[in-house]
Amino acid sequence: MGRFRYSYNFITGKWMLVTLAVILCLPVIIGISLGIRSADLLHDNGLIDLLFSSAWAPSKGEFGFLPFILSSLYVTIIAFVLAAPVCLLAAMYITQFSKPRMMKIMYPVADVMAGIPSVIYGMWGIIVIIPFVRDVLAPLFNVHTTGYSILSGGIVLAVMCIPYMLNMLIESFKTVPQGLRESALALGATHWQMVKHVVVRKSFPGILSAFGLGITKAFGETLAVMMVVGNVVQFSLNPFDPAYPLPALIANNFGEMMSIPMYDSALMFAALILLVVILIINLFFRYFIYRSKKIR
């Protein structure tokens, strides 16, 4: 009996270790397999050429990812500019100004918002945001647009990354010690001055990382953006023009990628770019959270 118990312990312990190791190796495995697939393309075109050329003609063997990368960045920046202030202010209200009941309401709200699939956000974008951009915003600026534009993509993305940012901001505001807040109030600061000078400063790393992680979420989002952004290979600074972000490129062309030589390689390279960029940003900003946990 005793021997059985220990051998059982040994086997299950090893199994648990193996599963954990597999999961932790997953990004490396993904990176390597995508890297092998895109090696042909890299060999033929060279990394610098691929990243900084804007000539996109797969049938002629020209793969310049610059318009896609810039489109992705542009959409992400618009989403960030729209979502970040709203999240920051809402998180302040929930943790500092409102009654504790509000927190109980906001958790399910953020849960549901995070749970709604991206295709539904995309559909909502087509129903609501696109007519709004076409009929309300565009006439304001005297531009003509179909509504399928960078701006629509940015708005939909902004809504999509609200729950992630909001959750992390609430968490980081909650960790500010009560004593610090009370001493600020005791020195005669108003509630808002306390928030501005104590809470924000104390949780600054948390705010930074929440924003950073929100950006990565927006950068990798696929379907919702693809449905509203127009998908035209070009790049212009006018937010009412359509664009073609990287994830949309991968998702849109999976059907024909086996028919054109090197096309599959190019799409896998696009996925590799996404993976590397997002992993690096993620690791960088998570480090702040990791540090703050270690101190506690």
Binding site: R5, N9, T12, G13, M16, L17, T19, L20, I23, L24, L26, P27, I29, I30, L34, V86, C87, L89, A90, M92, Y93, Q96, F97, M102, I105, M106, P108, V109, D111, V112, M113, G115, I116, P117, S118, V119, I120, M123, I127, V159, T190, H191, W192, F219, G220, T222, L223, M227, P247, A251, F254, M268, A271, L275, I278, L279, N282, R286, Y287, K294
Partner: protein, 284 residues
Amino acid sequence: MRHIKYTEQAFFKFLTGFACYSVIGILCLIISIIFIKGVGSLSWEMISQAPKGGYYYGGDGGVLNAILGSLYVAGGAVLIAIVLGAPAALFINSFLFRYKRLQNIIRYFLDALWGIPSIVYGAFGFTIMLYFGMNASLLAGIITVACLITPIMIRSFDEVLSTIPTGLHEAALSLGSTRTELAFKVIFKQGLPGFVTAILLAFGRGIGDAASVLFTAGYTDQLPSGLHEPAATLPLAIFFQLSSPIPEVRGRAYSAAAILTCIILAITLISRLLVNKYSKNNLK
């Protein structure tokens, strides 16, 4: 001077409140629009039948193929995620509970994994398919979605397990239990509500994700019949039907979206309830 500081406070109190309520407003707007649009063509037929001939030109049928396909993909992926994820989470909290630093480093990497977008998992699944010479199939979809949801599952299970006081670990070990017994008989029991929540959360993510199954699970009008057959999924059904020029087909996309939203809402609310109900009984 006095006045300025109080006016500033009143202004920002209003502004922050406005931001908070507008977030709630946006959610209500999204959900109400989906249901208003979706109710029109929602019928029993939608849920109980597969697409028939001429479905994409406004003919008879429903999206049963996609509903079943989604359930199979998400269900299978959750099974794999349980086999891989639960032991990993238990390992972090039973074998490594003395090594706080190592635990935090592992959590750090798991969190980073959580941020990888689903399209990358989709592309990864596709490279694996090419490597093994598989076609788009239910199995490939399940494997890809499992890769996507396992980190989520581990992290949310681990989040609950990490709140268990170490005194419990020490008590179990001092009574002579092995580490495995500690993991499965003590910690697992304590974290059971967290486990159920993690499953529900992972299931919700799996059922709603489109970008990862786009390459791997394929699309078909038949009901899913085997692991090696392609299978339709609900998000893709919505996506494809939305791009149709025929208003009736688009109407069906709206009602399919309403069905999907109902599933997600139910999963989210049930998991919230479970957390609130069972966290009271646990040791703190």
